[in-house]
């Protein structure tokens, strides 16, 4: 089960492109695209910048007006979905 302390790995078969507040992730193994909106894009940018999940969470918490529990829940739900689609690995 994912937690904010889980170490994440971004697989080599994932390409991505950030367009303003949106990001497009591509699993080149399945030829499937995945779109991210504002906070998801910020999270992805931080993770690809080498930040840990915990650090990324703290940074986003400081940047947006959002309740800590809600943000944690949203981030973990998104990451589970990304994991299911082969876009992040643990």
């Amino acid at each position: 089960m994912l937690t904010l302390n889980t170490a994440l790995h971004l697989p080599a078969h994932v390409s991505f492109s950030i367009v303003g507040e949106d990001a497009f992730l591509l699993n080149t193994q399945t030829n499937k695209y995945y779109g991210l909106e504002e906070i998801g894009t910020r999270l992805w940018a931080l993770l690809t910048d080498g930040k840990s999940l915990q650090d990324a969470y703290q940074i986003i918490l400081s940047e947006y007006e959002v309740a800590p529990d809600q943000l944690e829940q949203d981030i973990l739900k998104l990451l589970e979905d990304l994991q299911k689609n082969g876009l992040v690995e643990t």
């Binding site: 078969h13 390409s15 991505f16 492109s17 367009v19 303003g20 507040e21 949106d22 497009f24 591509l26 080149t28 193994q29 030829n31 695209y33 779109g35």
Partner: protein, 288 residues
Amino acid sequence: MACYRCAGGNFHFPYPLVELAPFEIDDGAAEEAVSFVSSSCPGNEYPKLISRTEGWVGNAQRSVEVYDTSQGILLKVAGSRDLFIAPHGESISKQNPREEFNQLDREVILGPALVLALALREVWSLHASAAMYKENVIVFLGESGQGKSTLAAYLSQNTNWQLVADDILPINLNASGASIFPHFPQLKLPTNAQPGIDLPENLPLKYICVLTHAEPGEMPDLQKISTAQTVQSLLSHTAGTRMFNPALLAKHLEFSTQAAKQIPAYQLIHPHRRDTLPLIKEFLEKIC
């Protein structure tokens, strides 16, 4: 040997292809041509399957298999001869190039094989129609049956408008921006009515227009869309992406992103009714 120039490149074939007749060039003028050569898929190698899908080729739904090899891409379409496309799209080959092409071979060559060869040169094939108003090329994207062809054909009947493409439009990005290549066989149209033949070999693309469904009774409307929506449209309406290997998919994503940042794009609510076409023409002329 027959030599043709389309989509900004030269193509050599051992036998003439009637579908490419409007694009025929002098054999001596052909340099760096994509050619049909006698070499084939490298032997002693187990090719890696990239995709196995069904596609509409030669008036039938057929299995299309694409394999990655160390020396390029192997394309197998059920009922047709295997084709091998070199890594940078510089040649397309089959087992015996001396055998004349049958109808299905020609459709595979002019369809998926050509799309793949162009993609390997980073020229992408939009599934689109296009028309030009004065100097402004507008490409129309949308699902099949949405009215892309009808709209482009209608516009081209009007003063200052010209048809550019009706089905497939090659596009790439270069230092000056997005360019489209009007010299490309539009297989839905007769050989003697190819629309792009009188146009320059490449033209800047000014606008993207994504046709969307209108509710019954809804009037046409033209609204600017976001860069992210434009990326999505380009990703969805590029032909052949199911055949791309991971490297091509990544390049195509990069192209779609960069093109979307550079080209203004609109959503056209398109009722697909003849009586609304004059209003759509007005909208489009206004943005140009």
